[in-house]
């Protein structure tokens, strides 16, 4: 399966997909602080990071070309020996196959565009938040993320994949908590760092599943290397494979934000918008989809596990889509939309439609990054409008309020005229997401629906409903944000973003339009399918089904029309309630996220906090500290010290001996002092007697 590396190919460059971003990271880490204090340095910091990511993209393109020359055959590029314990040997090796190269292209490609966008975005963001020197930290973390993501997708073993998996989790944590000392409205608070912690803990639960799967692999297969694991799995009992695949699924639900661990992703919107676009929409959250596609050979062995994966994906897709309808924060809508779209991908790879899942992963990376970045542009536009007002409203204070939320769609409206470029970009992203012909999302979503209709009617119905809600919430967002009249003075004074922000968006918009060409459902156009066939195995290319495609497109168009009827026909003014409120409890559920966070709080977090509190106050404080430590340990020690050591050993033993010695000496001397009676004649007598005694002895002996 592995061919020899031919000359003229670029596989020797493979490690550089990791090392280029690493170099960029180090440059900014070492020189960034110095650069930021120069007037021209800030842009340089951003461009160094962007070039580092761009270099990784160039390497990825060269690898794709080499792979094409190599007829798609997998190449393994060993770099270093990592672990050798007993018969376990793990190398740091890069696996260059069509699947990993596809991921590399997405990560580095979309990543580079978002890096460039972030040059402009963070320039304004750090100034609104009041800490321009944090600019460097952002790009260091961003490059670190690219490093970790590249390790994740290029590793040749589950252990290397896990290293990257944890690395991107760390970067996610660091970047969600980028403004750790404030909340999303820049008020002093720990809300952002709480969101980061929530993401980290939820991912940790998922990682436990991944770890358990890894332990099972090591215990039964004695290897983490993909080929060896797949080889061994063919002879393994199905129960074992089910356990491994389901444990992996737990990891996927954490990283890819599926039910039941999706709750961290909406909170992760606390991070700056480029972070939401790169990490929490385009790349990191798709790592779970990649993991399942990578483990295709395991999942295809056990249809039961596949069914569970597909159902979780489909239910998540619908569930998250309903919540997105009830949100007011422009990024929260997109966050739930991301969860929903990840559900589509997970459902696809769960049904064995790995190509469809990866196809949707790629197109989703394009249009969701586009949507998030456009939303960031909208937020910045409102922020600019707000600052404009603040500078021009001396004397009349009615514009000033305590808190202005530039991400709240109820503050927007009518932005079509103020921000035309962003408007058109957003519409392109929305149409692609809603699955309107001929945008990229249409082709990829349609392929998933087609597979679903063939494999599982339940999944098909769930996903179709999810697609309905998707079109609705995107329509709602467009009408609320860009149409109607401004509901806030800041929206009325919003300003369009600079080219550094809009140009990467245009590239992404172009990709969102033509991205479907990667895998058109016509004979001879299944490029991505043939490309991935080398890695995920033969996948039957489905022809275009006009019924499925027509139905989904018609549904989307009708839904957008419905959303216009609800939101666009009579735009609600400032302070008016949402028209959907008439739906009663359904609207309440959607607006309050079906109370899942509250449920988790009641079922898991509060008992846990109470248990922790109990452990701290009763077990730790009262039992261990007050009783065991203070009473038992300290008491015993004090008793031993007072009674044993002081009273007996010291007072009676040592003091007693010393006193006895003194007393003894006194008595002896009191007795013997009498010899010294001061009478010279007595001394003379004793001398005489002594002499007589000694002489007598000497003479008589």
């Amino acid at each position: 399966m592995h061919s020899e590396v031919a000359s003229g190919e670029f596989f020797f460059l493979t490690p550089w997909v990791v090392f280029f971003p690493l170099i960029g990271l180090l440059i900014n880490l070492i020189f960034g602080g110095w650069l930021l204090r120069r007037p021209w340095g800030e842009a340089l910091v951003g461009w160094v990071a962007s070039l580092a990511s761009g270099a990784a993209f160039v390497v990825s393109v060269l690898l794709a070309y080499s792979l094409w020359l190599n007829h798609g055959q997998t190449v393994i590029v060993p770099l270093a020996r990592w672990i050798q314990i007993g018969d376990l040997q793990i190398d740091w090796a890069f696996r260059v196959d069509t699947l990993s190269v596809t991921m590399m292209l997405v990560v580095a490609g979309v990543g580079t565009l978002i890096h460039i966008y972030a040059i402009g975005y963070m320039h304004e963001d750090v100034r609104y938040k009041g800490d321009p020197l944090r600019y460097r930290r952002f790009f260091v973390f961003f490059n670190l993320f690219i490093v970790a993501m590249m390790i994740l997708v290029s590793g040749d073993s589950y252990l290397m994949l896990f290293v990257g998996w944890e690395g991107v989790g760390l970067c996610s944590f660091l970047l969600i908590g980028f403004w750790y000392e404030m909340d999303t409205l820049a008020r002093p608070s720990w809300a952002n760092s709480d969101a980061a912690k929530k993401a980290f803990v939820a991912n940790r639960i998922g990682d436990l599943g991944f770890l358990l799967a890894g332990f099972l692999m090591f215990w039964y297969f004695r290897s983490f290397q993909f080929d060896q694991v797949f080889e061994a799995a063919r002879q393994a009992p199905p129960e074992l494979i089910i356990a491994i695949t389901l444990f992996l699924l737990v990891g996927v639900t954490g990283k890819s934000a599926q039910i039941p661990l999706y709750v961290w992703l909406p909170d992760a919107m606390a991070g700056p918008t480029p972070v939401s676009a790169l990490i929490h929409a385009a790349t990191m959250v798709t790592a779970g989809v990649y993991l399942i596609a990578r483990s295709a050979e395991l999942y295809t062995l056990v249809p039961e596990a596949q069914y569970v994966v597909a159902m979780i994906g489909a239910v998540t897709a619908l569930f998250a889509a309903t919540i997105a309808v009830g949100q007011y924060d422009i990024k929260k809508v997109l966050a739930y939309s991301t969860i929903s779209q990840l559900g589509f991908m997970v459902a696809a790879v769960g049904m064995g439609a790995f190509v469809a899942g990866m196809f949707h992963l790629v197109t989703h990376a394009f249009f969701k990054a586009l949507l998030f970045l456009s939303a960031g542009s909208v937020i910045l536009g409102l922020e600019r409008g707000h600052h404009h007002l603040a500078h021009h409203s001396h004397g009349h204070d009615e514009h000033h309020e305590d808190v202005f939320d530039p991400g709240d769609m109820r503050n927007m409206g009518g932005l079509r005229k103020r921000m035309p470029i962003t408007f058109w970009l957003y519409v392109i992203g929305a149409l692609a997401l809603a699955g309107i012909f001929p945008f990229a999302g249409f082709w990829s979503k349609d392929e998933i629906l087609l597979d679903a209709r063939l494999h599982s009617p339940t999944v098909y119905v769930l996903l179709s409903l999810a697609a309905f809600f998707t079109a609705f919430y995107m329509g709602r967002q467009i009408w609320m944000v860009f149409f109607g009249e401004p509901r806030h003075a800041a929206a009325a004074h919003a300003e369009e973003s600079k080219p550094i922000i809009t140009i990467p968006l245009m590239v992404l918009a172009a990709l969102s339009i033509v991205g479907g060409a990667l895998n058109l459902p016509f004979k001879g156009f299944h490029h991505l399918g043939h490309w991935l066939e080398y890695t995920v195995g033969e996948v039957k290319a489905l022809p275009l089904d006009l019924g499925v495609a027509g139905l989904s497109t018609a549904l989307a168009l009708v839904t957008i029309a419905v959303s216009w009827w609800v939101y666009g026909r009579r735009p609600s003014g400032a302070g008016q309630p949402d028209p959907l409120r008439r739906l009663g409890w359904i609207y309440t559920g959607m607006a309050y996220k079906w109370f899942v966070d509250e449920g988790y709080w009641t079922v898991f977090v509060r008992p846990y906090v109470r248990l922790a509190h109990f452990l701290r106050s009763v077990i730790e404080d009262r039992f261990w500290h007050d009783w065991f430590h203070d009473t038992v340990l300290v008491g015993t020690y004090n008793w031993l010290a007072h009674v044993g050591m002081n009273r007996y050993a010291d007072q009676r033993g040592i003091d007693g001996f010393a006193n006895w010695l003194g007393e003894f000496t006194k008595r002896v001397s009191a007795t013997t002092r009498r010899v010294q009676n001061g009478f010279v004649r007595a001394y003379a007598l004793s001398i005489l007697l002594g002499v007589v005694a000694i002489l007598g002895y000497l003479i008589l002996r």
């Binding site: 013997t672 001061g678 004649r681």
Partner: protein, 100 residues
């Protein structure tokens, strides 16, 4: 010729008288005289043995003893004068400052 035993016996008697004088008397002058008596009894014995054994060692030794005795008396009398000046008595039993 007087036998050697007689000399030795006389020497012993004189020594005993001297020793008893040192032990029993309280006047330091008398005690010094008793000491002289003991020293001279020893001198007598040494001279007697020297004559009997026909060797000069004993006689030479006696000269030394006489010289030492003279020096001792000189020191001793000076001490007694000083003691009398401070204590206005020379009773040795009164000189018990070193009693323990």
């Amino acid at each position: 010729m007087i036998p050697l035993n007689y000399y030795v016996l006389l020497s012993g008697i004189l020594f005993t008288i001297g020793a008893l004088g040192v032990l029993l008397r309280r006047n330091p002058l008398v005690m010094f005289m008793s000491i002289e008596l003991m020293l001279n009894s020893a001198n007598l014995a040494m001279v007697a043995f020297s004559s009997a054994l026909q060797q000069l060692n004993g006689q030479i030794f006696v000269f030394f003893v006489i010289a030492v005795a003279a020096a001792e008396v000189a020191v001793g009398l000076a001490l007694i004068v000083q003691i009398f000046k401070t204590k206005h008595t020379i009773n040795v039993d009164e000189m018990s400052n070193l009693r323990g």
